[in-house]
Symmetry: C2
Subunit: 200 residues, 2 copies
């Protein structure tokens, strides 16, 4: 590299971001230096604050500034249902849909034995303890509709067989606003099997 | 947004990076929080240091930690030739090719009247002063082979008409290792017009 030490270090550091290689890191560094110094300083402060201040919520495992996150301390969320998602962005998507008003549990991943991610890594102990202690009546398994997500959902359901809790899974079907011609066969057969009377 | 304030602020701040929207910023923030806290802290420090410490070299306009950059203080570079490039990454590409051992001048852009970038913004005064004061014998215009780059090169050449300096432009032709079938017509006609005897 032939840049100055400070620029070199900035370019190298930017490569810790996912999907950012040498050329993109260079482009980002030059953009910040040329036109975005205020943004760069703000990002520096936000990174320092978040890297030291953000922890896992003791109750739902989501990222939180406090030991227990606001969603878990919110008493109106104690509706007896618990929604299990893989990641904070899945939680956000459900919150933005606005339909569900219960509590969450964030697995922060899915079971993946080859990557060394087993039940302990996704917090199964904590989840089972919550189901037992908080009188959860319905556990909604909202893991992704992928092979790993389905396997994780089935594993969780198996662990709860002897508990008095209704375990549900999000419905599969054609997405609203989609075109039938572009929907894959698996989804279409799910949609056919799950068809409902129009008066429903 | 339903994340914690620190995570929200991190996601918002990441959007100052070029080409990073809401979803990418979220992905980056979660990646750093889950798996890259050390990298995040390093990036925070590098950003703070670069945003306050990096300035423009007084001689060549490139980014530098010092008022005059190491390339400009290097006496072995005073060969009488000055290479004009649009950006620091162009300079890096030429340095990595390893052929050119003279001095540089970085325009930090190209003439673009519609964007309000005129001769003053690309440092024409400084460039003309250097040509006059440093006994430059050859000025190599290595601006990009685009419409804007060509226009900028022609403008600089016009400004230097009454100076005793040889103004050159990088050769156009087929790239080494390329396939003729994929080379565009303009480049091919340049290559034909610039053909040389094999003994050269």
């Amino acid at each position: 590299m032939a840049f100055s030490p400070l620029v070199d270090e900035l370019v190298e550091s930017l490569r810790c971001l996912p999907g950012v290689g040498q050329k993109t890191a260079q482009r980002m560094a030059f953009h910040l230096l040329e036109r975005g110094r205020a943004g760069g300083e703000r990002l520096s402060g936000a990174l320092a604050a978040a890297m030291t201040g953000v922890q896992r919520c003791e109750s739902c495992q989501n990222f939180s500034d406090t030991p227990v996150c606001p969603l878990c301390t919110d008493d109106t969320r104690r509706t007896g249902s618990l929604c299990v998602v893989e990641s904070p962005s899945d939680l956000l998507a459900i919150e933005q849909a606005g339909d569900y008003r219960g509590a969450y549990f964030v697995l922060m991943g899915h079971l993946s034995p080859l990557d060394g991610i087993g039940p302990a890594e996704i917090g199964m102990d904590r989840l089972l303890r919550r189901v037992r202690q908080e009188q959860i009546s319905e556990l909604i398994l909202a893991t992704n509709p992928t092979v790993e997500g389905e396997a994780t959902a089935h594993y969780i359901a198996d662990c709860l067989q002897d508990q008095p809790v209704l375990v549900t899974r999000l419905a599969h079907g054609i997405p609203v606003g989609g075109e039938l011609g572009y929907v894959d066969g698996f989804t279409l057969s799910h949609a056919f099997r799950g068809r409902k009377p129009l008066t429903d």
